[in-house]
Every structure is written in structure tokens, then in C-alpha cells.
Amino acid sequence: MLRLHYHNEKLRWIFQRVTGLQLLLCAGIHIWVFFFILERPLSYETIHAVLSHPVWLVFYSVFLFLGIYHGFSGLWTVLTDRNPSNTVKRTLKIILISLGAIFMVLGEWNLIMLSV
């Protein structure tokens, strides 16, 4: 039987808060760079130039991971608030982890395509 279970609720709880704070920081940096540093109007070339730099590629990859983890972990919390059966929980976990992985791959793929 598939077992996808967080054995440590505290770790998940802390990680949810930590990723939330990191997301705020990343979003702040993103807004600061795109609205106040880069020349307007933004073009494909500008975005390409930013993402060509490995530091920014890593930054946006981390940003993407944090967003997806925080979003899907939050969704899991809300969807299991009503304490559904173990079967429902297991199905939900499979769906959410699969969706998260798909979004991560798609997002990362786009970032890499924009960087080359």
C-alpha cells in the first residue's frame, strides 16, 4: 500500500511558515528587480538576459519550488480539515504531489527554455 505520510507534523508546520516568509522575500526581490531595476518596457530580450545568469536561474527555480510547495501544502491542509477517510487522504496526496511535480517540471522547463 502506498504510504505518503508526513511523520512529523511539526516539521511540515514549520516548513509551511518558513516557505511563506521566503516567498515574501523572493516576491519582494522579483518586484524590486522587474519594476525598479530593469529598463521599461520589458522585452523578451531583457527577461532572457536576466535568466541567462545562473544566479537568477537558481533564484527563480527556488522561487518556483517554494511557491509550489507552499501552495500545495496549504491546499492539503485545507482539504483535509474535515478529517476525511484514509483512502481519500491517500488519493488526495497522490493527486497533489503529482500536480506539484508536473507544475515544477513545467515551470523549470520554461525557465530553462527562457535562459538558453
Binding site: Y6, E9, K10, R12, W13, T80, D81, R82, N83
Partner: protein, 225 residues
């Protein structure tokens, strides 16, 4: 003190007879010092003897008369009547027995689940003054059920213990003499335990004794490894 006429709408529902609840409107003569409980007792004694509600000490100590009064949870014996319309409903999240009386079985089940008693480490039960001061913020809980009713999570998740049980648990976690620390933490570290709390602070708002259950929940979270 000069008496005036106060209006009060009281939630009425008898599961054995009614298909839906209703609000019955009463007018009661009272002074501004009178509480909602005074009005309910007046209604029961002089207007409608079928009105059902719980009350006992009349001085905010027993917690029997907790209900939803004018939009907030509180003790009917502590909340004064307001000019204009007063509105009284029973505690939420629990089945209604009749009118303002609810079945608190689930509340007590959750309370018992956290082992609300001291198991001493040794026969010597001496407690330091400093440790007594530490538990002071929790011992005032009168188990009225107001926080349990105000909590969104107790309403949707049958496995969630609820704020009152967590306050009592924290009382024993803070107690140096207690020997069940690990067992207690084991009870609430799971998926529907203390981490299920969304920190909405409804319990803090509802507590008539100003205990701040949400902060006790946070303290328990810190204690879990």
C-alpha cells in the same frame, strides 16, 4: 435602580417537536445592572416556563450558562442586557438538546482524551512558587465550552481536541510535578492534533476568562519534537 423594558430574542428549538429553530421575542423589565441570565430566568419564571437553559452559580465561576449573546460567546451571568434588541443563541458546534441547552458530550470526550489530571512523578507533590505562577494563566479555565464553540476547526474536524482541551493539557505540561509529559504530547502531535489549529484566535475572543487558548496551543506546538 430604575427599571426599563429590555427586548430579548431567544433561540428556541425542541428536536422532539420542531423541524426548524425560531427566535421568540420577549420583553422583560430590568435595570442596566441586570444580566442576560437574569432576563432568561425572568422569562422562564414569569413568561414561558418551557424555556430551557443551563445556569448554576450566577457569578461566572461554573461556566454552565455559556452561550452566544449579541454576536459573541460569553457567560449569560456576566453579560449585561443592552438597550435595544438582545439576541441569545446556544453554544455552537454541539447538538441542541432543547432551546439553549446543548449536548456537550463531544466536548467532554475531547477533554478526557488529554488526561486532565496530575500524575505525580513521586509521592512528594511539592510545587515551587515559580512553577505555580507559570500555570496560573491556565487554571482559570471553567470549561464553559465557549472556545470549543467558537473554534472553526472543532466544527469541521471530529478528531480535533479543541481549545479547552489544549489549555488543560498545557496546564499539566507546565506543571513540574507531572509525569505524563511524553504521553500527553503523543496524543496531540498527530495529523488532527495541535498542528491542525489554524490560529484564527476565535478562542481568544470567546474566552470569558481571558485565558487566550491560542497562545496555549502555540506553547504546546513548541514542546513537540
Amino acid at each position: 435602580m430604575k427599571e426599563k423594558i429590555y427586548k430579548i430574542a431567544v433561540f428556541r428549538f425542541d428536536p422532539l417537536k420542531d423541524t426548524a429553530h425560531r427566535f421568540d421575542h420577549y420583553t422583560v423589565p430590568a435595570s442596566k445592572a441586570n444580566t442576560v441570565l437574569d432576563a432568561l430566568i425572568y422569562i422562564r419564571d414569569y413568561i414561558d416556563g418551557t424555556l430551557a437553559f443551563r445556569a448554576s452559580c450566577r457569578q461566572g465561576r461554573c461556566g454552565s450558562c455559556a452561550m452566544h449573546i449579541n454576536g459573541r460567546y460569553g457567560l449569560a451571568c456576566e453579560v449585561r442586557l443592552v438597550p435595544g434588541q438582545n439576541r441569545v443563541r446556544p453554544l455552537g458546534q454541539m447538538p441542541i438538546i432543547k432551546d439553549l441547552m446543548v449536548d456537550m458530550e463531544r466536548f467532554w470526550e475531547k477533554y478526557e482524551a488529554v488526561k486532565p489530571y496530575l500524575v505525580r512523578k513521586s509521592n512528594e507533590a511539592a510545587q515551587t512558587y515559580a512553577n505555580r505562577r507559570k500555570i496560573e494563566k491556565t487554571v482559570d479555565c471553567i470549561l464553559c465550552g465557549a472556545c470549543f464553540s467558537a473554534c472553526m476547526m472543532t466544527g469541521v474536524n471530529s478528531g480535533f481536541h479543541g481549545p479547552a482541551a489544549f489549555v488543560v493539557m498545557n496546564r499539566f505540561l507546565l506543571d513540574d510535578r507531572d509525569a505524563l509529559r511524553d504521553q500527553r504530547l503523543e496524543i496531540v502531535k498527530g495529523e488532527n492534533g495541535v498542528f491542525r489549529c489554524h490560529s484564527m484566535y476565535n478562542c481568544n475572543e470567546a474566552c470569558p476568562k481571558n485565558i487566550k487558548p491560542a497562545e496555549n496551543i502555540l506553547e504546546i506546538k513548541k514542546n513537540i519534537d
